[in-house]
Amino acid sequence: MSAERPTLEELKERKVLSRQRVERSGEVMTVSMGPQHPSMHGVYRAVLDLDGEVIVAVRPEIGNLHRGVEKLCEERTYHQIIPITDRLDYLSSFVMNHGYCEAVEKLMGVEVPARGRYIRTIASELCRIANHIMWLGIHIMDLGTQTFFCICFRDREYVLDLLEMLTGARLTHSFGRIGGVAKDLPDGFDHRCRKVIDFLPQRIAEYERIIKHNRIYYKRAKGVGIFTSEDCYAWRVTGPPLRSAGVARDLRKDEPYSAYDEVDFEVAVEYQGDVYDRFLVRMKEIRESCKIIRQCLDNLPDGPFLARDVTHSLPLKKNVLRDSAAMIQDFYQVFQGPLAPKGEVYRAIEAPKGEMGVYIRSEGGAKPARIRFTTPSFYHGQALPPLVEGEMVSDMVAIFASIDVVLGDCDR
C-alpha cells in the first residue's frame, strides 16, 4: 500500500531524492522572474538564484497589487466593507463576502435564516467550481497547451452565467449581506442550475480523460514539487495542497458553517503531495461541489433569506419606500451602520484556495477598529522557496501554478 499511501517518512525521503536529480556546477546566476512573467499569475516576482537549471534559492517579492484594504476598512461601516472583500480574491469573490459576513455575524451575534444559509452555500460552491475550472485551464496552459485553456474557459462561462443570474455580476458579486444574502434565488435558477451541475461531472470526466493519462502532463507533474503535511503546517499551506498531502482537513467539515453540516459530501484527499495530486484533489472537489449544490437545491427551505434583524441587517429594498419601519431601518443602517459590541473575533472558512480567516477587533462602534484578512495566497506565495528549491526552473512554473495564488488575495 505504501506506493499509494506513503507515510510521512517515505514522502520526506521522496522529496529529498526528487530534488537531487540534476548535478550542480556550483556557479550561481541570479534571475528575476516576474512581475510581468505570464506564468506568475499576476504581479508576483520571484528572484531566483540558479545553478544551471536548478533553483538554489528563491526570494519572493510581493506587494505590487497592494491597495491597503485593511486601512480602508477601518474608515467604513460594516456594510460598506462587503464590496471591498470582493476585490481580495476576485476569482471567487462570493466566498470572500461569505467569510467576512460569517465573522461579522459571529461578532454581532446575528442568526442567519435557513434559506439564507442554503443560498450562501450554493453561491460559494458555484464560485469554487468556477475557480477550480479556471485554475485547471491556466495550470495546463502554463505547461504548454493553449487549446485546453479555451475548453476550460468555455465551461467556466456556464457557471459564471449562473452566478450572474443569481447575483447580477460575473466576477465581483457583493452578494453577501450581514444576516443573509442580497436577493432570493431568481425564477428559473433551479432548472438552469440543475442542468449545469448535471452536465459538469461529465465535463470533468472529459478533462480527466484528456489530462490524467496524458504522458506529457504525467511527466511534468508526477513527483514534482512534493510538499509533506509537516511542511504544510509549518508554512500554513492549506486547502487543496494540504489535502493532496494526505490530510483530510476541510473547514467545511471540521468547523462547519452555513449549510455544510446539513449536506452530505466527502473531503477530497490524495496522498502523494505533488502537482499531479493537487490536480486530482481539485477535480474531486468540483464533483463534490456539484453534489452539495444538488442537495441544497433539493432541500432548499422556505422563509426569509435575510435576517429580520432591525439593528444589524439591511431591510428589503422593495419595502423601503412602502413601509415606514423599513425606511427607518434603511436610514439607520445606511447612515450610521450596525453597531458591534466591544470584542474581537476570528473566523476562518474554506475558500477555494485554502483557509481564509477574518480577524475583527471592535471597540463598540459602527466601524471596526482593526480588520485583518488572513488570505490563503499570502501564505502560499510565502511558501514558494521551500516548494521549489532544488527543482528545475521549468518545474517551478508547474509548481507555482499548482498552489493557486491570486495576487489580489496575496497583496490585499
Binding site: 510581493i62 506587494g63 497592494h66 491597503g68 485593511e70 486601512k71 480602508l72 474608515e75 459571529k106 461578532l107 451575534g109 503546517y233 509549518a234 508554512w235 500554513r236 490530510v247 482537513r249 471540521d254 468547523e255 470584542g343 474581537e344 473575533v345 476570528y346 476562518a348 483557509e355 480567516g357 480577524y359 477587533r361 477598529a369 482593526r370 485583518r372 488572513t374 499570502f378 501564505y379 506565495g381 510565502q382 511558501a383 521551500p386 497583496d411 490585499r412
Partner: protein, 162 residues
C-alpha cells in the same frame, strides 16, 4: 477546555489576562514571555498547536502606556482547537521573532513591522513587504492619514529623462 487548564497550570500568574468572547479564548502575556508561551503551545503534547494561523500587529493609541499589540492565532491539527495569544508593547519596544517555531510567521512579522513599526529581533529578513522600499511612515497606525501624498509622490523631475 483542556488547553486552557494546561496553560494555566504551567504559567499561572504569568498569563496576565484571559478573556473569553464568542467562545474564543484569548490570553494576554508579557512581551518577555512571548516566545516561551508560544513554544509551550507548540510543543506541549496536550496543546500541539502546529499551525500559526495568523500573526498581526495592532495599534491602540488611547492606551498610552503600551499602545501596540501583537496577536497570534494558533490552531492545532491534532485536536482541532484554536487559541489567541496577545502581548502589548510600548513605542519602540521590540519583540523576539517566532519564525523559528513557525516559518510562516516570516511574512506576517514583516507586515507588522512595515505597517506598525514593531521590530522583531532575530527575524531573518526584515524588509518592507507590501509597500515600496522608500515608503515613509507606518500606514496602519491610527494617526496615519487615510488620504495624502506620503510615499506616493510622482517624480516630475525625471520626466523626459527615462
Amino acid at each position: 477546555m483542556n488547553a486552557a487548564i494546561q496553560l494555566e497550570e504551567r504559567f499561572g500568574a504569568r498569563l496576565l489576562e484571559s478573556v473569553e468572547f464568542r467562545s474564543e479564548l484569548t490570553y494576554v502575556v508579557a512581551s518577555s514571555d512571548w516566545v516561551e508561551v508560544l513554544r509551550f503551545c507548540k510543543e506541549a503534547p496536550g496543546l500541539a498547536f502546529d499551525q500559526l494561523d495568523c500573526l498581526l500587529g495592532d495599534h491602540l493609541p488611547e492606551r498610552t502606556a503600551a499602545p501596540f499589540e501583537v496577536v497570534a492565532h494558533l490552531v492545532s491539527h491534532v485536536y482541532g482547537h484554536r487559541l489567541r495569544v496577545k502581548t502589548s508593547l510600548t513605542e519602540g519596544q521590540s519583540l523576539p521573532t517566532v519564525t523559528g517555531l513557525w516559518p510562516s510567521a516570516g511574512f506576517d512579522e514583516r507586515e507588522a513591522w512595515e505597517m506598525f513599526g514593531i521590530v522583531f529581533d532575530g527575524h531573518p529578513d526584515l524588509r518592507r513587504l507590501l509597500t515600496v522600499e522608500d515608503f515613509e511612515g507606518y500606514p496602519l497606525r491610527k494617526d496615519f492619514p487615510l488620504q495624502g501624498t506620503v510615499g506616493g509622490r510622482i517624480r516630475t523631475d525625471l520626466r523626459g529623462k527615462i
